[in-house]
């Protein structure tokens, strides 16, 4: 329910009402070592001389394939003053290349350079604190807009997406999170080379055309997902409260003032720094043969120039030493959220957090459902989960609950704390532990039965661990979690001083539905 990711667009029918998708639970009876072995036979990994990692999995079910390109950088890498630039570049990766989307690139290039010059001059004057001349600002703005109109003459709009669609590309989209940026679609299996061309060209010769119009689109995305949604507003406020130094406190979509500021040159700078082959993985899954596809991928993706891998992030969130709170007074109904800092995904206790998530949240047997929803009848929904807002860096284990009418967020808070206390003081039962492990094994490979899900999971694990096999090894770590581990980690993590609370409290609407046509 949380907007963890910013997407390029909301799907083909952008107004179709989202349906509850029943996720099928998948499970296998075989031992896991055997399973790795069976995947081993179908998976080929190759690192190219430029540093790019390619992964191909043969899955001959139907003559189609899916791919996932992951760039191991996300909004956490946004420079100060340019929040939202990682996500902005993701949008720009659909704008075409020097060959796609232009009628005359040589002329367009010159025109785009003029746009950047004009924007830099306009921006400099506009943000002057002393001696700003409004007339000069207006003139420079006009010059900038005129330059855009000039550059626009060479644009073939949306040609990149059109080519993907005309070739039968399905589910064309991309998303940016705090941790990473990913691109995906599926295609009929006879179009592998077309895909390899399109996907490599977009990162070989990206052109920042129509940047400032696309910036307007992204501002609309911000209004849609954050500004006009009570939960979106709460999450933004909550994260700025929970994280003081680490960049998880910044919205992936960006602050509005930064969106209004940054330039195409800034986006290109971001691309040059982070879209380097050594920082990327491309995974393909479907009815393909590695022996045929790998050489094609090498031919096209091998053209990406090698560049130094970006520096890792060094800023750390200092330990929290007292409870923090973010309260929104809204005309919307109340909502309760709290989070506790925990280490990143490489932590030896990572699997313990997975066990706690399942125990607290999964299905009608989960502890929060049974106490808050079924027995106390104070919540319509309640859950606790890890990985908020990302997992790559130290993040939060969070709990939320939706009160039913007539019950307060304070009641929810107390009920959640009682359940946390139980985790700390009482061992989970043997049955619970068995159930949780069985389900986690199922959950870990949920999504492995389709090309797109597999491509995403394999690419993610290849990026995070340098080895796709870790996807299966997570299960071994879960198996080793003991009751004592759950108590130990709960006691370590869920302390009052490590807690951040975010609530929406309802305030009455001042004049309900009286405003109207007369306005």
């Amino acid at each position: 329910m949380f907007p963890f990711r910013q997407q390029l667009f909301g799907g083909r029918m952008t107004f179709r009402i989202a349906r509850l998708i029943v996720v099928l639970v998948i499970f296998t009876q075989f031992g896991w070592s055997q399973d790795i072995a069976s995947f081993e036979k179908r998976i080929t990994v190759k690192q190219l001389p430029n540093g790019l990692t390619l992964l191909v999995m043969e899955r001959p079910e139907a003559p189609v394939f899916a791919f996932n390109t992951i760039v191991d950088s996300g909004s956490v890498q946004d420079p100060n003053g340019e929040t939202g630039i990682a996500h902005m570049f993701e949008h720009m990766a659909f704008k075409g290349t020097d060959k796609i989307g232009t009628t005359n690139y040589a002329a367009e290039k010159v025109a785009l350079e003029k746009v950047e010059k004009a924007y830099a001059a306009y921006r400099q004057e506009k943000y002057k604190m002393v001696g700003r001349d409004p007339q000069k600002v207006a003139a420079l703005e006009k010059a900038w807009r005129d330059a855009i109109a000039e550059a626009d003459k060479y644009v073939i709009k949306n040609q990149f997406g059109q080519l993907v669609e005309a070739n039968g590309g399905e589910d064309l989209n991309a998303s940016t999170s705090w941790d990473e940026t990913e691109y995906h679609y599926s295609m009929p299996a006879n179009r592998v080379e077309v895909w390899a061309y399109l996907e490599s060209e977009r990162f070989l010769h990206p052109v920042m055309r129509e940047f400032y119009k696309e910036r307007d689109v992204v501002m609309e995305e911000r209004r849609m997902r954050t500004d006009s949604q009570p939960i979106g507003r709460l999450i933004e406020k909550f994260l700025t409260t929970a994280f003081e130094t680490f960049s998880y406190h910044r919205p992936t979509v960006g602050w509005m003032s930064d969106l209004q500021y940054f330039s195409a040159s800034d986006a290109k700078q971001f691309f040059d720094t982070y879209y380097v082959p050594a920082n990327m993985v491309v995974a393909v899954v479907g009815e393909v043969k590695a022996a045929e596809v790998m050489p094609i991928m090498e031919k096209y993706f091998g053209r990406l120039p090698a560049r130094p891998k970006p520096e890792p992030i060094h800023t750390e969130e200092p330990p929290q030493n007292s409870q923090r709170e973010a309260v929104l007074h809204e005309i919307a109904q109340p909502f309760y959220l709290e989070g506790y800092h925990r280490p990143d995904y490489r932590d030896p206790d990572d699997a313990v957090y997975d066990v706690m998530t399942d125990l607290m949240s999964d299905g009608r047997t989960s502890r929060l459902f049974r106490t808050l929803v079924r027995d106390k009848k104070i919540a319509a929904d309640a859950a606790g989960f890890s990985g908020f807002p990302g997992t790559k860096y130290p993040h939060l284990f969070a709990f939320y609950a939706v009160p039913i009418p007539g019950h307060s967020t304070e009641e929810l808070r107390q009920a959640i704390h009682a359940e946390i206390e139980r985790l700390k003081t009482t061992d989970v039962t043997d049955e619970e532990m068995k159930m949780v492990k069985t389900r986690l094994r199922a959950n870990l490979i949920r999504g492995l039965d389709d090309n797109a899900g597999l491509a995403s999971q394999l690419a993610t694990h290849q990026v995070r661990f340098g080895d796709w096999r870790e996807l299966f090894r997570e299960i071994d770590r879960v198996e080793k979690v003991s009751k004592a581990d759950v108590r130990r980690v709960a006691n370590k993590t869920f302390t009052p001083e490590n807690r951040t609370v975010g609530v929406i409290e309802n305030r009455p609407s001042p004049a309900p539905a009286k405003a109207g046509g007369a306005q």
Partner: protein, 488 residues
């Protein structure tokens, strides 16, 4: 430069040159797609009328299934709106005559298995998902829920709490408001596809209603059951026959006569103060998929309003930067008219401008109908991506079950493909003339009226829609001053 480094440089150059030898896009050869005929499920009809589809899929040791039962919320009484929703929940959570719902939860969750029920507009359903090795136990639970549900009172109470919570929150999200009000404008507020559950209609639902619903509809002759997964069809058929053959047929589900009363054309406004983006929806009554124009409509929607290549996306999003979300189409449902809906989400300050921009695109269809190039692109997309309609056994099963349910020919998908191939320019040109009438639109705007570029009334007479929830504190009079209201 040393000799060695010269060689190195030469090699590097060679490597670069090698890499540079890629063809232009238009010179990339596209081999024909291998012939692919997905295996069709086996259809079995029992003597009691139950229809069964069996689809083997041995990739994973899993079995999934769903039974779809005729009769849904469009047949529930208006004064008990929400009945089928509550029924769809308590059918499973209320347990069976042998086991409570909680006991079922424990049993199934311990095996990472699911048996779930749900209520929809034209049908209800019961599904299962499990490991192959647990199938016998899970199927037993599935049949028990199907045949002997208990509808225990404590779970009815719980389901009502959840339903009431949903009612209390339905105005928090503008997308939900827009979707709900758009359906009312297209179908009429009393139409079962549009009307909404209220506190009073939920309170009116009793256990007897749920029991009666079950007795009325859950008969084998109203059921289509589909199973997909790692099983042997012959063995599965034997098991299902043994289980379901003795079940006598009952009265067939009666379908209600539905009336569709589109709202009068004009502007409709929902004022929402806590947003900075307006949702605009241009609404009309659509058509059904049996319409001979359906193929032309589908191609038209693709070219005009759906996806990257569409005019609306290109013009309103890419060129004008007015929106992140824009799109829509002439609606076509299986057995009742769909909703024709063109929508956009735009900042409050460009609300009126966006309505006019949308009008311009619609008007422009007259002098500039869909071009042959646009037609080709749309057809290329639909046809080249057609394989994604049946690229997994479960998708094939799902399609077949839908055609069976709506009495469509079993090869409807193939006919659809052929129909798309045949669509010509003049067919697509006919679509806007026949199905898109700007002067017939009900234009819904949900937004922060204080921030609009111009009053909506500057475009024409406006009907204000009051979305106050009946029975909520706001509905019983003006808010109490000073009651926990924060300083502004």
């Amino acid at each position: 430069m040393t000799f060695c480094s010269k060689i190195l440089a030469a090699l590097l150059l060679l490597a670069t040159a090698m890499f540079a030898q890629v063809p232009d896009l238009e010179n990339i050869k596209i081999p024909p797609l291998p012939d692919f005929h997905p295996v069709q499920p086996k259809r079995i009809q029992l003597s009691n009328g139950m229809v069964i589809f069996l689809q083997e899929d041995h990739e994973l040791p899993l079995i999934d299934g769903v039974a779809r039962i005729r009769g849904g919320s469009r047949a529930e009484p208006a004064q008990k709106t929400g009945l089928v929703s509550i029924y769809g929940e308590v059918w499973r959570t209320g347990g069976t005559t042998k086991r409570t719902g909680d006991q079922l939860d424990d049993l199934l969750e311990a095996h990472a298995a699911k048996v779930e029920t749900s209520g929809g507009a034209d049908s209800t359903s019961i599904s299962l998902s499990c490991l192959k090795q647990d199938f016998v136990d899970v199927f037993t639970a599935f049949v028990e829920v199907m045949r002997q549900p208990a509808f225990r009172e404590d779970k009815i109470e719980l389901a009502k709490f959840q339903e009431n919570t949903a009612i209390s929150r339905r105005n928090d999200d503008i997308n939900q408001i827009a979707g709900r009000e758009a359906a009312k404008l297209a179908y009429g507020p009393q139409n079962p596809y549009a009307r909404t559950a209220e506190y009073t209609t939920v309170a009116a639902i009793t256990r007897d209603d749920l029991v009666r619903w079950h007795q009325t509809y859950v008969h084998p002759n109203n059921i289509i059951l589909g199973l997909v997964g790692d099983f042997d069809t012959a063995q599965m058929e034997a098991r299902l026959r043994q289980t379901f053959d003795p079940w006598p047929a009952g009265p067939p589900a009666k379908e209600p006569v539905l009336e569709f009363h589109k709202a009068k054309p004009g502007y409709y406004l929902v004022a929402k103060e806590d947003v900075n983006q307006s949702l605009i929806r241009m609404i009309d009554l659509g058509t059904t998929r049996r319409n001979p124009d359906y193929h032309a409509i589908d191609v038209f929607n693709e070219a005009f309003a759906s996806g990257f290549s569409s005019r609306l996306f290109k013009e309103l999003r890419t060129r004008q930067g007015l929106a992140y979300s824009v799109g829509g189409g002439v609606g076509a449902a299986y057995d009742h008219p769909g909703i024709t809906d063109f929508g956009i989400g735009t900042k409050s300050q460009t609300t009126i401008a966006s309505i006019q921009a949308m009008y311009r695109e619609i008007d422009d269809l007259q002098p500039h109908p869909v071009t042959t190039e646009e037609l080709k692109r749309a057809k290329d997309y639909i046809l080249n991506s057609f394989v994604f309609n049946y690229d997994s056994p479960s998708k094939v099963l799902r399609e077949r079950m839908a055609y069976e349910f709506y009495h469509y020919p079993p090869d409807f998908l193939e006919r659809f493909r052929v129909g798309i191939e045949k669509v010509k320019s003049e067919d697509v040109m006919r679509v806007p003339q026949k199905y898109i009438h700007k002067d017939q639109f009900s234009v819904l705007v949900v937004g922060n009226t204080q921030e609009f570029d111009r009053p909506l009334s500057s475009l024409g007479p406006v009907t204000n829609i009051d979305i106050t929830i009946p029975g909520s504190p706001e509905a019983s009079g003006p808010a109490k001053p000073g009651a926990a209201a924060p300083p502004q």
